[in-house]
Amino acid sequence: MTLFLQLGFQGIALGMVYALIALGFVIMTKGSNTFNFAHGEFVAVGAYVVLALMPHLPYWLAFLGSIVVTVALALLVEATLLRRLLDKGLTTVVLATLGVSIMVHALILMVWGVGTKGSAGPVGSGTVEVGGVVLPLSGIATIVASVIVLAALLVFFRRTPYGLALRATASHQEAALAQGIDIGRMFALSWAIAAVLAVVASIFLASFPRVVSPSIALVALAAIPAVVIGGMDSLIGAVVGGLIVGLIQVLGAGYLADYGGGKLHEVLPYVLMLLVLVVRPYGLFGSRGIERV
């Protein structure tokens, strides 16, 4: 039971990280009709920049600095590339973001090398014990921070004019334009929000015991099954999907280590994703309309 609670806790922590990344995917997809395959690399950039700034600045400034850099990168990609290709069809957009992903990955390796670095999390390796269950501080920080970010996001979407304008844009682009909502600015805004979420996710994805390494973008891609399971245009779906994937991975690693070569937990989210698609081709919470993207 203790093991289960411990694993469950860590699964939720990891799941929240995936939820943040998945939300980024969903917000971009809803806000600007694109699926940004380079989002995993945005997460990697976030982690590397925090790590690079940490020795020179207080942690929170390093974090803010990383947000500035990553948001700038996202806006650059969105403005120079995506906006021009939007009406060129799905294949073009998909391939373009894959191209960007390749470029950013190469740049990261040029700047920081192929080696493994330290952790980039806000808290160290401490633990606390609650009723016999040992909880890592990094996990607690992850959950607390993610919940705060989710709440802020909720307030943003429900209570602010920009949030409303984003939702209106996602709902009906031409009608949004007719209300005087600047669609281009909304595209940029959705990419910027996704980039902020990527940085938040990145510091927890690189929290103890995990570290910053070139494969972090690939780890971030595990949010893709979360996106599909939840439904590509559903914010709630992204959170639920993220939690499912996080729990599967951690519980799977704990309980299925003796089966299937001990790596079953890595592949289970993808299997589940296919199963969900068979039963519900638009994910658990998605709507049909998204296929037009």
Binding site: T29, N33, F35, L81, R84, L85, L86, D87, K88, G89, L90, T91, T92, V94, L95, A96, L98, G99, V100, S101, I102, M103, V104, H105, A106, L107, L109, M110, V111, W112, G113, V114, G115, L221, I224, P225, V227, V228, M232, G260, G261, K263, L264, E266, V267, Y270, V271, M273, L274, L277, V278, P281, Y282, G283, I290, E291, R292, V293
Partner: protein, 372 residues
Amino acid sequence: MTTTVSAPPTGSAPQPEVAPARRRRVRAGTIGLVAWLLGMVLVPWLGISDLWMGVGIFAIIAAVGALGIQVIMGFTGQISLGHSAFMAIGAYSSAWLGVEQEQPFWVWLPAAALVAGLAGALFAPIAVRIRGLYLAVGTIALVFIGAYVWETWTTVSGGAGGRLAAPVEINGQDLLDGYWSGGTQVMTLFQAWWYFAFAVLLVVMVLTWNIRRSRLGRSMLAVRDRDLAAGVVGIPVTQTKTVAFAISSAFAGVSGALLTAYMGYFTPGQWSLMLSIDFIAMVVIGGLGTITGAVLGAFFFRAVPEVVNWLSAYLPGISQDAKVDGGVTAPLLSQFVYGLLIVVILIFEPRGLNQLCRKPFRWIQQRREGAR
């Protein structure tokens, strides 16, 4: 924007005198084809270095897989990022037949097509249910599930260390040793493999050409252009997509089998998402929906990394191997240029190299017509 891949415009701009213009275009096409065939036959004797011959062989093999992607994406309008998984299936089934069962290539090569094609047909029921973005993203699962299977199923894959590939033996000679006759080498390994791969490519090209012109091909285009509406006008959408997936996967299987046979040895790690992306880049950048586009794209994207590698020797500040702590290295630079080229070509000529290459010819033709 629609689910389907937008139809690439075919042919040149409408012209007033249709019949003569068309004849001229056909003639130009035939001349181009003959010239290309002749060139491909002659290349091994032009004294090209082994390095570039190798690149060429990789390109020919990639073109086979690219034609598979052309069938599913270019003709049928379904994005699949799972191509590398089907290549792997072709590779492992051919290696098992060719090595463990000691079958000749004319058994294992068609078998690779068959097994991969069947796998594609098995996946099709899922694929036909999902559309657009969901399909593009969903097919990623195949790559990751495949990677897991290859790494875990060590009796077939040899585990992370890899395994031997099926040999291509003609008259009892392994082509990887070149081709010998009476104690003298008639062809080097590169010359022999060039012809072997080229022969397979020709077969696949002819198959693709026939598919494109058949009733099936027309159904595929109808599915691509109208998807939902196609069902209304009596085109069996599900069946067409299923067949397209099977054919596409079969070509992928052949490409995977050839690729590993040429390399002689292969590991589970090489069937990555990046490999799938490669093939999508080839057909989109080459030109969606055309055979020429697929072949052009394959040669382009196999050549680019080598060209950058070769150029980087002349650029200052670029080291030749990977470094733990950063720095611009030749492989990284070629990776970056690869991504950059995709992006730049998409921005400036979204219809691909096929159209780009035709521009000068069209310009010349227009000038000639103007002069007359």
